[in-house]
Structures are given as C-alpha cells and as structure tokens.
Amino acid sequence: MSNRRRFLANAGAVVLGTAAVSRSAMAALPDAVARTGADTQPPSAPPAGQHYTPVVTLNGWTAPFRMTDGIKEFHLVAEPVVREFAPGMTARLWGYNGQSPGPTIEAVEGDRVRIFVTNRLPEHTSVHWHGLLLPSGMDGVAGLTQPHIPAGRTFVYEFELTRPGTFMYHPHSDEMVQLAMGMMGLFVVHPRNPRHHPADRDYALLLASYDIEPGSHTPRVSTMLDFNLWSWNSRVFPGIDHLVARIGERVRMGNLSMTNHPMHLHGHVFEVTCTDGGWVPKSARWPEVTVDIGVGQMRAIEFDAVAGDWAFHCHKSHHTMNAMGHGIANLVGVDQKDIARRIQKLIPDYMAMGSRGMAEMGEMQMPLPDNTLPMMTGTGPFGALEMGGMFSVLKVRDEQRPGDYTDPGWYRHPPGSLAREWDGELPAPARAAGATPETATVDVRKPGAHDHH
C-alpha cells in the first residue's frame, strides 16, 4: 500500500477524532512554543476562559493555548531535547517543546481541548492522556485506538475534560524507550467551581527515573531497575528548585518512573486529596507524613504550610542520591591508611575513601567523570546536605507575600528553636541491658582532624 493510500485510510478515522492533519491545515496550527531553560516559570494565569489558580511546575512551565471557537488549542511538538538535570550535567532526552518533561497542560473541567501533536522524533509516536476520561479513539494507544504518528507528521486530538484532577500525558508507541528518554508531561484539570479544592499555591511535579552512565549524556533505554538518576520533572538535587510557600499548599505528583516513591514531607501533616480516580471525599482521607506513589499513579497532597525550611523527598534513601556504584566494597570501619600509601605508589592520585562512611563524598570536591554529578552534594546554611536525586526544600515564611515565588533565603530560626552543640555536663547515657559500646572498629576522631593520606 502506498503512503498516499495509507494516509487516506487513516483519514477515515476522522470520525473517531484522530486525524492526520493536511499541509494546509498545518498553517492553522497554534504556535509551538518551546523553552530551553530549566528555571521554574511563574504560574501563568489563563488568558481566556474561566479563571483558576494556575500550578507552578517545578523547573518547568505551562503550555500556552489559544481559544478557537471556544476550544482551547495546544500544540505539542515531540522532539529531541537537551535537559539540564542540575548545573554541571545535561542529558540528551526526548521531550516536548524543547524540554523534558513537556509543558504542563492546564485547563478547566468542562473545557473542550484540541491538542495538535507534531512528531519531530526519528521514529513514530503517539500521546496517551493518562487518567483522563475521553472517547476511546482519543486515548492515544497507537495500534489499538489510532495509527502511530509517523515522524514528521502532525495528529490532532480533541476531547472534553469531563472531570477535574491531576493527570499525565506520555507516548503509547515504543513506550518503554520513549518514557526512558523522558517523554512525559502533566495535565492538570482545574475544577469548574473555583471554591472546590482551592489552594493558595499549587506545585506540580512528575517523578521519573533515568540511567545515564557517568561520562555520558543519553539514558540507557534498556535499563529496567538499576537507574542512577531519580528525578522530579527531569531534575535532580541540587538542581530542583525549592518550593516556596506562605500558607495553604497543594502539591500534585505523578509517577512515571519504574518504581514506587514514598514521598515524605517534613514538618507537616498532609492529606491525599486527589488520586488518579478523582477527589477523595473528606471523610475518606487520613493524615499522613509520607505518601507512597505507585508506578503510573497520581497524588495530590494538601497541607497548611508551617514556617521553616522543610525537607521534601522520596524516602527511598538511594533515590536521594545521584549516580553511584552499587557494587563497590564497603570499607566502613576498615583502616586503610597504610594501604592507601602503598596504593599511591601505583596510582599517585589515589585517595582512601569510605573508611569512616561516605560523608566525605559530600564534603570533598574531587574531579569526576565528565557530565557527572557527585552522588551526594549540595550545601545548606549549616553545611553539606549530602543529598541528590529526589530532594528539595519547602520554604515556608510568614512574610512571603501571596503570589511571590522568589527564594526567601534560609530560614531564620526563632531564638531557642535551633539544635545546638552541648558543652555542659552530661548525664551518663542509658544503654540497653547487657549492651557494650563496640569500639574495635569505630575509630572516634574529632571532626577535621582526619587526613586523607
């Protein structure tokens, strides 16, 4: 069958709503706006249609739309992108409109949306609107509900947003590879009634995992489990922007990684107010400090912000690390000073590491392979943060003005509310009956007294 005839055959699917767009129709496409930076863009109030409190996509942005005959028109361009994961490391991904994740699509319950998808990838693609209720022919499962969108072609999707909530979009065409390459985005449908689930600040983030070998740029698409970069919106600590708040907060999270992420917020009790299936009735919620987000799930958590600097992170501790070796020898408690001196005769720049733990990784600035972030890094007001991956800080200030998303700096702790070193008398510590402190392998040294040779 010739391409031409195939094209016509596809055109027959117009009735179901998925259509290949002809060249003349391309002229009428809304502009495909692209972004190159990884800064968090301020929330974009809707230029038309019903008002809502727009979300802030951490290190991301919201797709612009135009109104045509009462329909909100978006234009996604699937294409290769360069994404900065954190200063010092960039990845060659596939994404939408210049970034991975793609821009967040925001609209309102009851809106009719028309979304053009132009494929600038080297292979075919499709877009599945994850969690949205729509006609089967708009579901974006290539082969099942539509033809694949060939490279260089544009398809259009059109459907009504029947229910509010937090959703996602991603390919359903060579899905494993395209997800591993970073193709995903958030789709937020605001309630038609603005008094329904209002929030003063609404942050959105998408969880994804990548395996980018140290010294390289492109994710290994065949990795299934042993990922080395755990990202929010294709960023890793210390590249993830802080969340800033005054009062009231909603955080929407979707998980398109390959594993679950127990997301833990310090200093707050929150409730899951929205899942994949919709809003959770108040009577069905329970208070939590950690919410586990399974693969393919979405959760919106809401809380009343409490002043302070609060860690917000996945609680799998290796998910708050950047690329690291998982098979390396454990040298904790192994004295290797003399061995290190001998190794230096063979390898002059060798430095013994790991004898006291791995914290020195967070303290030392050692030369690493190209395009590689330290496995733990970052500095806070009191020293090394020793984090990576899925970690950020929620900064809540009483004086933060509504709508002000600028970084207020580190928290100034009220007098008497800060942990400090004790230099007074110490009562004898109570120990479990029969326990004796183990001193054979623990070499207690004063901080800073160590040497690395």
Partner: protein, 338 residues
C-alpha cells in the same frame, strides 16, 4: 701464480667467508642475548608491580574480612590471586637471571658482578625506521654466502684452466646463459642483479666441465634468490617490529593511561571501588609490559636486515613464539560484594 696455488687461495677465501659468517652469527646472538637480558630485567619490574597490586587487594580484603565487611571467601579469592602472582614473579625473576647468564656465557665473562652492568631499560626506538632502498642489491654485492658461491664458481672455472671470461651473465635473470646482460626491469623501480663471468669453453672436450660450471652457476643463483628473499623477510620483520613498538608506545600505552585516569575519576565518584581500581592498575601495567616486549622485539629484529644483506641467513633466530610468553591473567574480577 701456479694454478694449484690459485685453487688453494680460492678455497682459503671461501673458508674465510664461512668463518666471517660464523663470527657474525655469534655477534648477532650476543646482541640478542643482551637485549633479552635487559628486557627480562625490565619485565621483572612489571611482575613486581602486578604482584604489589595483587598484594594490596589481598591486604584490603583481609582488613575487610577482619572488620566483618566481607566474607572469608572474598579474602581467600584475593589471596589465591596474589599467590598466583607471586609464582609468576618467581618465574619472571628466574627468566631475568637465565637471560643474564646466557649473555655472560656469550661474552665469555668470568666474574659476573664486577664486569656485567646492565642498563635499567632498553634503548629508545630510533625516530624513523631504516628504509629498504637498495637492500637486495647490497646483499648481492656484499653478502658473504653470495660472494662465496660466486667465487666458488670462479674457482671451479679456474681449476679447469679457464681464464678468458667472454662476458658476464646475471644469474638472477631468466635464461641467464644465453640472454647475457639483459637485466630484469622491476616494477617497483629498482633492479637487482648478480653478474657472474661466462667463460669460453670452446673445445667440445670441455663440454662435461661446462655442465659442472653451469651447476655452480645454478647454485650461486639459488643462494642469491634465497638471500634476496631473506632480505625481504627480515626487512618486513624489522619494519613490523618497529611499527608495533611505536604503536604500543604511542597508542596503546597512552590509551591505557587515559583509561586509568577515567577509572580514577570513577573511583573519586564512588562509582567503582578500590578493587576495581587496582585491577585497572594491573591492566595498565600489562600494557606497559606489552610495550616493553614490543620494544625488545624491535631490537632483536633490528640487526637482521643488515645481517641478511651482508653476512648470510639470520639462522640464529630462536625467539619464543608469542603464545609461549607467560602473562598474568587480566580477567575482570568480580567485586567483593558480588
């Protein structure tokens, strides 16, 4: 000069050539023994480094086992590798001593310690390899066995009382007897010839003698053809050895060095551990070892073209085949936590 004395003189000359050939052979063997001895000593240094790296892995594994961080099994594996490397070092040390003693014998030295002082390392490669240019013609003009054959032929003629050379024939040319001086044009731009006098046998009674003379010409041609082939082969061996030694020095060793630098960066990032780093160090030392061997092979081959051009077949070649050399295995080893 009386006829008999002339014959005697020729025989004496021939014997002289043979003696020169033997002397040259002995000199070349001594030279080879020298380079073997220097290289063997240098290679022992390599085995010491490999053994040292294995020892460090062993010690680290032992400490880990003592601290409860690794099973006894991991320590024993490192110990086993170290033990194997110790054995290889012992063999290597003996090879260095054996090579040195070989040289001592070649030199006929009596007091070893006082007189034989070997350098730390092999001499550097020359900046450019010698070109083959006129190698084959040089062999025809100067190589002792070729000259000896030609003179034997001449001596045979003179023993028959033939003195009047009518013309010269190129024994390397096809149909040499009748086609006389016509020289073979070579496509690569130079020509090689070996001219032998042709005598006027005139009288039919000398016909049998003539056949004998032609036999000597055929023998000379045979030796000349073999000589040319040996010149070509030794030059190829020389040139290959040079190219390989330069390849190891300029490509393999620097590349291994860069690989080790990258490995260290990975170690810095805790992407690999000290065991992997030490294994990599052993591999780097292995590349240096291969470079030393290639450098040695160059110096062993270095004088062969000259020998083949001026003396005779380099029959003193007695080098080990490559696969007979013992090297520690550089297999990637599992990490302790596997």
């Amino acid at each position: 000069m009386p006829h008999a004395r002339k014959v005697e003189q020729r025989r004496f000359e021939q014997r002289q050539l043979e003696v020169a050939q033997e002397a040259a052979g002995t000199a070349a063997m001594t030279r080879s023994a020298y380079f073997e001895a220097v290289a063997a000593r240098q290679l022992t240094g390599y085995f010491e480094q490999v053994r040292e790296a294995a020892e460090l892995s062993r010690d680290l594994a032992q400490r880990m086992a003592e601290a409860g961080n690794a099973p006894r099994l991991a320590h024993m594996r490192e110990q086993a590798f170290y033990a194997e490397m110790t054995a290889q070092l012992a063999r290597s040390r003996h090879r260095a001593i054996a090579a040195r003693e070989q040289l001592v014998r070649m030199l006929g030295l009596t007091s070893v310690q006082g007189t034989l002082q070997l350098p730390e390392r092999l001499p550097e490669l020359p900046t450019t390899p010698a070109e083959a240019h006129d190698a084959e013609q040089t062999a025809m003009d100067r190589r002792l066995d070729v000259l000896a054959a030609a003179r034997a032929s001449e001596a045979f003629a003179r023993s028959l009382g033939l003195t009047r050379a009518t013309r010269f024939v190129d024994v390397l040319g096809a149909g040499y007897v009748n086609e006389s001086e016509s020289r073979e044009e070579r496509t690569d731009g130079y020509e090689v010839h070996l001219s032998i006098p042709v005598f006027d046998f005139g009288d039919a009674r000398l016909a049998r003698a003539r056949a004998g003379y032609e036999q000597t010409l055929a023998r000379t041609a045979d030796i000349a053809v073999k000589a040319r082939s040996q010149v070509r082969e030794t030059y190829s061996a020389y040139r290959t050895a040079f190219d390989l030694a330069r390849h190891y020095r300029d490509e393999v060793v620097p590349l291994r060095k860069r690989i080790s630098e990258e490995a260290l960066l990975r170690y810095n990032g805790m992407l690999i551990g000290p065991f992997e780093l030490l294994a990599d160090a052993r591999e780097q030392v292995g590349a240096v070892n291969a470079a030393i061997e290639a450098q040695r092979d160059f110096w062993l081959a270095e004088s062969d073209p000259r020998t083949a051009m001026t003396i005779g077949p380099p029959r003193w070649h007695r080098r080990l085949p490559a696969n007979a050399r013992v090297r520690p295995s550089h297999r990637r080893r599992r990490t302790l936590t596997d």
